[in-house]
Symmetry: C2
Subunit: 346 residues, 2 copies
Amino acid sequence: MRRVSLFAIATLGSMFLGQTVLANDMNIVAEPGHPSLQAFRLPDTPPAPANNAPTPARVELGKKLFFDPRLSGNGTISCATCHNPTLGWSDGLPKGIGINGSALPRATPTVINAAYNHIQMWDGRKRDLEDQAMGPMEADKEMNADIDAVIRWLNENDGYRQLFARAYPGEPIDTDTLSRAIASFERTVISKDSPFDRWSRGDRRAMTEQQVRGFRLFIGKAECVKCHSGPNFTDDGFHNVGLASFGDPEPDAGRYKQVPLRLMKGAFKTPTLRDVTRTAPYFHDGSAATLEEVVRHYNKGGEVKTNLDPNIRPLNLTDEEVADLVAFMEALTSPFIEVALPELPR
Amino acid sequence: MRRVSLFAIATLGSMFLGQTVLANDMNIVAEPGHPSLQAFRLPDTPPAPANNAPTPARVELGKKLFFDPRLSGNGTISCATCHNPTLGWSDGLPKGIGINGSALPRATPTVINAAYNHIQMWDGRKRDLEDQAMGPMEADKEMNADIDAVIRWLNENDGYRQLFARAYPGEPIDTDTLSRAIASFERTVISKDSPFDRWSRGDRRAMTEQQVRGFRLFIGKAECVKCHSGPNFTDDGFHNVGLASFGDPEPDAGRYKQVPLRLMKGAFKTPTLRDVTRTAPYFHDGSAATLEEVVRHYNKGGEVKTNLDPNIRPLNLTDEEVADLVAFMEALTSPFIEVALPELPR
């Protein structure tokens, strides 16, 4: 009961987090190496729950589980199928496609830097990576796993039994240790060494002039930073950004399903912009194919004005400024995260 | 026309290849380092067509294509989905499952050492890796690609255009270069450094005593080597091995569909035994879950006797001998083939 209340408080708090971070960002000086740019510096390691420090044994186990299609109902689909490392740890599709070609209602969020999120999923219905891990496995249109059968199978598999014993000595193999292992691997999927990061630490050659102009627009005229704020370029808040799909006869209510406040109707979580060049198409409904389309959407102040977030308004950006903003987002691309496919227990 | 005839001759020839190799194998002396064991030594590099030497540029391109789900009809399935490196470059399923959960009629063959095959597919309907590559892509129950659209997309994609230009300078991006690139990557998926290989080169500690006993049975009493012959432990021939499924009302005719000789009814290609511990379940119909089940099937001389290959007869192996044979097959396992997932062109 206590846990639920704390979560509710955190949830309500996160809706206003954007405002808090904005206050800091207002003082940002767009000069390479300026101390104010520390506002965008990610901690070296993402936070982890006290009972799940990411030891090598946990990461190794979690990686195998992440890539193992035998955790799905028909053995064809793993976490890595939709969160595909070759496609920005997402799937390159407007909306996800689960087991047996099942159409899913929203775009697949990337795993990249999900470890830094204060709340998970487009509608924030999961607290953290541990809380999230079992969701897609159990969902009948995603991995459609028979969880009892999966847990039984893991307990009967010699290889997995040893890996769990090393990762979580003295603990049973159950949904709790399964989720914690997967979360431990996901905490290694980090983007934090982009040209922007090098520039902000003082390397003035790391960004082009156009990218610097884009950054100035980002924190200035275009006010992107109002929501895409802080080290992970997200306020972990929820906003209705006026997408055309909100004009559908039965639009996706988004965050409203979790928090029935009018402000949350059609509001979705601000995604990180780190590695955003790798995660097209964009928006929760996959309606923008390119970053230019995204910027043009904001430039006209959104499409559907009903219940629009008060921060969304026409930006009056020129074509050149639109291109500058896109160029800046390119500078948020870190080196490709190399992952060697693991050998799975037989 | 000339090409077709040569293929037909090669095809007919391959049916008797087992006999030829047997003649050599009869002289094998099961002592570590014995020159006769060179009969099992794979060449360092597998053969490649004259127009497709596996240059680094071709392998790099082919790897990206192999892992790219955007080559499928709905963007969800790549070559690597069913030929999954984490599951022995196969799928761990009794029979394949293609796009949208489509049930496929046979088990997914491994890519491991397919480069050494003289003929491809369970029924030998493809000549070589180049010939095979487009098959699953086009099949409506496998990747269900609109090939014209795929070729158009590759031609429009800057990244792929550059990769193709480096791999096949002066050649167009078409199904020919697409297949050759994928085949080039597949030629790197090689298993040839197993405990048995080290033992056969003279390292007497590389196999256990039980494994050596298993090898003696393999080339002796059990006569496995009659079909699982030569460096890749296959005669590249086709045999009806008396599986229960051949007793079905409408059994899979196998090779007979390609070569309508009675001997070929229900005959399927002898699979390699290299890395066989990684590619369960077994047989073209996935009917054996373990290698022990496979050996027990042969030990009783098959299940269905109709049109049985004349080499299949009860083996009179003791339980200990069955275990010895399985132990020998464990010794055909090479180090895990590590593959780093590639960054795909956007």
